[in-house]
């Protein structure tokens, strides 16, 4: 086991903790040292649960209209009220969470993979490859995210696959810079040189020595990217470039019925707005807490 891998295990296990599953130990430490982050983690878990089981949790269908109960304020039968077509807002929020989970995890996953591939390759090999790819990354990062998103979606059209691929590429390419920085530090470690001198192949070194040691960064990057992607998707939906109706997304609920009927039914804007705020905030504080606990440089601060 390399030094850094050992360090990560120690971090996950807690230096003085008795032997137990490292993930459990890590979360005990999270609750103890970062209670706000832990609350964020719980909210994140609730969000995941709602998204994954929306089909079972939602009391009504996502586009189950009933014009006779339109624009009803929150009540026992409709906790978040109904919209202008008589659809249950809570159900739409839950199905919206499902879409957010799908888009958030797929796009953040894709972004992370792209970041790892680009970051590891450019950071490890350096030289012309690094120079060429990172100048492209520089150019890419000069474009404002939203403008780039709007242009591409306008060309390829809205839809879940398109949004996942575009957001994945957008955040993946930019995120490669973070992975690259870690890899540059790791490649100079003694155990990497040792592996090289014993004749280990480059793929072997990348997979078994470099990659495990950037995992803490990858985990944090992935977590924060989930929040960013959910927010970006909401922004696109707000502009009418997100997932087409009748699929509910929080962004489209805000921009469509939320604003149009905000005087007649303020809950239509409040419900998706609050959910979006809480989830993104929760993910961000959870991500921050993870970074604080996993990043060796943050230790002791």
């Amino acid at each position: 086991m390399s030094d850094v891998t050992a360090s990560l295990t120690a971090t996950l296990s807690g230096s003085l903790a008795p032997a137990r599953h490292p993930v459990v130990a890590f979360h005990r430490r999270l609750f103890r040292e970062k209670p706000l982050g832990a609350i964020g983690g719980i909210l994140f878990a609730v969000f995941l649960f709602c998204g994954l089981f929306a089909d079972f949790l939602a009391p009504f269908g996502l586009n189950e209209t009933d014009m006779l109960r339109r624009l009803q304020s929150p009540s026992w039968s409709h906790w978040f009220g109904t919209d202008h077509l008589g659809r249950d807002v809570l159900s739409r929020i839950l199905f919206g969470a499902q879409l957010s989970v799908i888009v958030g995890f797929l796009a953040a996953g894709l972004a992370t993979i792209i970041s790892i591939v680009l970051g590891v390759v450019t950071g490890y090999f350096g030289g012309a490859i690094d120079m060429t790819i990172q100048r492209f990354v520089d150019a890419w990062m000069t474009f404002p995210d939203l403008v780039l998103l709007i242009v591409v979606i306008s060309i390829v059209g809205p839809g879940v696959p398109q949004i996942v691929i575009i957001l994945g590429c957008l955040y993946g390419i930019a995120g490669s810079r973070i992975i690259r920085g870690s890899v540059i530090g790791i490649r100079e470690n003694m155990y990497v040189h040792a592996a090289q001198s014993t004749g280990a192949s480059t793929p072997h070194i990348l997979i078994f020595h470099i990659l495990p040691n950037v995992m803490p960064v990858v985990i944090v990057l992935f977590t924060t990217r989930v929040g960013a992607v959910i927010l970006a998707e909401a922004g696109l939906s707000f502009l009418g470039l997100g997932v087409p109706p009748p699929a509910p997304t929080w962004g489209s609920m805000l921009s469509g019925t939320g604003r149009t009927y905000m005087y007649l039914g303020p809950w239509l804007a409040l419900a998706p707005g609050l959910c979006l705020t809480v989830v993104v905030y929760a993910i961000n504080i959870y991500g921050d807490a993870l970074r604080d606990l996993l990043d060796p440089r943050m230790r002791g601060r």
Binding site: N63, M67, P245, R259
Partner: protein, 555 residues
């Protein structure tokens, strides 16, 4: 004594306040506030050309605003492209007469002046050759609508101020086709030598000059100091236009343009949905209002050239599956008419109310999902089917309505996949006939004959269902030849009944819209068009009471 003094001061103030003033800016959110110009080139045959250039580019005929309801007349000037004959005045045509049955002679105004346009032309008077040029420009365009000018054999200048139209056959719509219609703007001959697609080259004799176009933001017009026409107010004649600048704002977002009105950024907002009205009336009681029945029909077009919509039973089933009455009462809050398309109630005797229609037509407007399922069974699609529906994201109302339609259709086993599209690509899909099997569209009523011709005659550009019937085509052709209006009305009513029963669309209710303007906008009563989507001359006659505006807190 004090009361008398106060009354005299108030009376004096009123006289002072109502005396037209020159200057100021007029900011308008037009009926098409969400749409950018489609093209500045008249040869592109874009329906919006009059809207975008009609304040600068004039036509042979226009609506006579002296006959508006506001001035004691009979005409509201709301229709998108219908001017009853009695409401028409010559704009660039000073007078006109027929020589025989088929030769129309038009004498042009001698004082209409094309403005100086750097890079295009020096200022000069309108000539008959300009009218000939303008006609040929669109007639020879590859984008011309089929059959549109088939009734015209020849157009030529008899002398400098007289233009002659020789007809090959009479056409009941002659005044609309190249008089006040969508494609009737008169440009100078010099336009033939410059880039017509460049807004800087838009030239005309109108009350305004297009000074600037900011992409997707605004068209800015300045006053034409040499405009030929005048406006009579309280018996006194005034040179027009009154305002220094006319600005059409382009605002794509509904909440934003409503806010722009409320904050005085817009002086006039010509079209808003009913849902915004009550709140605006509460928060901004100073606004003046006009309510009008939409001048475009809303429908979900079904491509009859594709399966399963080639079967009339399927099309009727889809109509029966949609609860039209519920849409009127609950979706539109009662602010809609159940059946007001393809004919508009404002078309006088051309319009036949639903109650007078045959039972087969009335049934299409009655919710009957059971019968819908039965028809689908008979048509061989008992399990239902899935089809794509394209919708323009530019229409907040349609974007709200489409999930409701999805829900209705799902109840009879039909699934729709909604494809929102940006306006340019949405329109282009239809004009190139590459649009999907379902196409949720708002299409102008235009006028009684055109609404049938453009929407249901074979091969027409604005025929989204691709409806085609030799019998129907022939009847519409004959309709254009009829000089007797009563005869036209009879035939037209029969054709309307027939096309309604054929159900090439899911017929949907037509909603009322509301126009609002601030009280400092004077000499205005909510008129919207005096030609085919052409509001320009209306704005040329508006003056802005700057003092009242300041008194209300909007400097």
């Amino acid at each position: 004594m004090r009361v008398l003094l106060l009354l005299s001061v108030l009376a004096g103030m009123k006289v002072w306040a109502e005396t037209p003033q020159y200057g100021g800016d007029l900011n308008v959110g037009t009926v098409n506030v969400t749409l950018s110009p489609l093209s500045w080139d008249p040869a592109d045959w874009t329906w919006k050309s009059n809207h975008d250039t009609g304040a600068a580019r004039e036509q042979l005929f226009a609506g006579d605003l002296d006959k508006s309801i506001r001035k004691g007349g009979a005409y509201p000037f709301i229709a998108d492209a219908y001017l009853p004959t009695e409401s028409i005045r010559g704009e660039l045509a000073e007078s006109w007469s027929w020589e025989g049955d088929l030769t129309l002679v038009i004498n042009l105004r001698r004082n209409a002046l094309f403005t100086d346009r750097p890079g295009v032309m020096k200022a000069r008077l309108l000539e008959a050759e300009d009218v000939v040029f303008s006609y040929n420009l669109i007639d020879q365009s590859p984008k011309r609508i089929p059959t549109y000018f088939d009734h015209i054999k020849n157009v030529y200048a008899r002398d400098q101020h007289t233009v002659v139209f020789e007809f090959s056959q009479y056409n009941a719509e002659w005044m609309y086709r190249f008089g006040y219609g969508y494609y009737s703007g008169i440009s100078p001959r010099e336009l033939g030598k410059v880039d017509r697609k460049d807004w800087r080259n838009v030239s005309g004799t109108g009350p305004f000059i297009l000074e600037k176009y900011v992409q997707a933001n605004a068209h800015i017009y300045t006053r034409n100091d040499n405009y030929w026409d005048q406006e009579t107010i309280d018996g006194k004649q005034y040179d027009i236009p009154f305002v220094d600048k006319l600005i059409y704002r382009i605002i794509k977002d509904e909440a934003t343009y409503l806010t722009a009105l409320r904050t005085g950024q817009l002086d006039i907002l010509e079209a808003m949905r009913w849902i915004a009205v009550d709140h605006l009336k509460e928060t901004t009681p100073e606004l003046k209002w006009n309510r009008w029945l939409g001048t475009s029909g809303t429908f979900l077009s079904l491509r009859v050239d594709q399966k399963p919509f080639d079967d009339v039973r399927v099309r009727r089933a889809l109509n029966l599956a949609v609860n039209q009455k519920e849409i009127v009462e609950l979706f539109y809050g009662g602010h809609a008419e159940l059946m007001a398309y393809p004919q508009h109630p404002g078309f006088g005797d051309y319009f036949e109310p639903l109650a007078d229609m045959p039972e087969a037509v009335q049934a299409l407007f009655t919710y009957n999902p059971k019968k819908a399922r039965q028809l689908l069974d008979e048509a061989g699609v008992p399990e239902g089917f899935t089809f794509n529906v394209q919708v323009c994201s530019c229409s907040p109302s349609n974007m709200d309505l489409i999930p409701l339609l999805e829900s209705y259709l799902k109840k009879v086993g039909i699934q729709i996949i909604i494809q929102p599209m940006e306006y340019a690509s949405f329109l282009s899909a239809m004009t190139t006939k590459t649009h999907g099997p379902g196409y949720l569209l708002n299409s102008g009523h235009v006028n009684p004959i055109t609404t049938l011709r453009k929407s249901f005659v074979t091969g027409q550009t604005w025929n989204p269902s691709q409806y085609s019937s030799d019998y129907f085509d022939e009847q519409v052709r004959l309709l254009h030849l009829m000089r007797d209006e009563n005869e036209r009305i009879e035939v037209l009513r029969a054709l309307t009944r027939e096309i309604l029963a054929e159900a090439p669309y899911i017929w949907l209710p037509v909603a009322y819209a509301h126009t609002a303007w601030w009280p400092w906008v004077k000499n205005y009563g909510g008129e919207l068009r005096v030609g085919a989507v052409r509001p320009g001359p209306i704005y040329g006659r508006i003056w802005v009471d700057e003092k009242l505006k300041a008194d209300l807190g909007f400097d």
